[in-house]
């Protein structure tokens, strides 16, 4: 069965510093991987997605993530964090069965807090 582990429940970063949020997945086969962000009192928004191809994928607001098959990882990175990035970040893996019919398995999320 597929699973996602986000080992850090909370990460605190100074504004302007770089960021890495960790994600490890377990999946038999070629995964489709996603990072979602949840801002306070809002639903989940897609940050970026990985479909088989270039291991480094670019997302919105300067985020990027790198897929590593050997490490079973899909870590999220940002070069310079802004206070507005304060949110909960979820990593997810999907079993794609074609078209729009697929299931997402999420990690528990990492709360990113930003200090001045």
């Amino acid at each position: 069965a597929q699973s996602v582990t986000q080992p850090d429940a909370r990460v605190t970063v100074s504004e302007g510093a770089s960021l890495q949020l960790r994600c490890k997945y377990s999946y038999f086969g070629t995964p489709y991987l996603f990072w979602y962000v949840q801002y306070p009192r809002q639903g989940l928004q897609l940050l970026l997605k990985y479909y088989p191809g270039d291991p480094v994928v670019q997302g919105v607001n300067g985020f990027e993530a790198e897929f590593s098959k050997s490490n079973s990882s899909f870590h999220l990175r940002k070069a310079s964090v802004h206070w507005s990035d304060w949110a909960v970040y979820f990593c997810a893996v999907s079993m794609h069965s074609g078209g729009s019919n697929y299931k997402l398995t999420f990690g528990k999320g990492t709360l990113l807090t930003v200090t001045p």
Partner: protein, 109 residues
């Protein structure tokens, strides 16, 4: 427009009473999903509709019902709410990606 709407945003229910949550989307997506999200836990898939076909997860099969009267709307129904149902309920609709609504926060007292 990639908006998914959920109503109500907040719901207070009594133990043993029914609860009906509504989700709508205007993207003409074939698939709509319902997830349950509890604090410090991952969103958990409860069920999804692919067109008119309902698929329920094995461990939530008996606890939740759903209907999809047309392509745009999907409901989540709890026949008799228990305290353990208190959670955020997230609806998503999918074309190539899943788009999420803002969620309904259900509190059962």
């Amino acid at each position: 427009d990639t908006t998914v709407k959920q109503n109500p945003r907040y719901k207070l229910a009594r133990v043993g009473k029914p609860v009906n949550l509504i989700c709508s989307q205007t993207m003409n997506h074939d698939t709509m999903y319902w997830y349950q999200k509890k604090p410090n836990q991952a969103p958990k898939l409860l069920l999804f509709y692919y067109d008119k076909i309902l698929n329920r997860e094995a461990d939530t099969f008996e606890k939740f019902q759903s209907s999809r009267p047309n392509n745009s709307f999907c409901s989540l129904y709890i026949g008799s709410a228990g305290l353990e149902y208190s959670a955020m309920y997230l609806c998503a609709s999918a074309g190539y990606e899943q788009y999420f609504g803002p969620g309904t926060r259900l509190t059962v007292l």
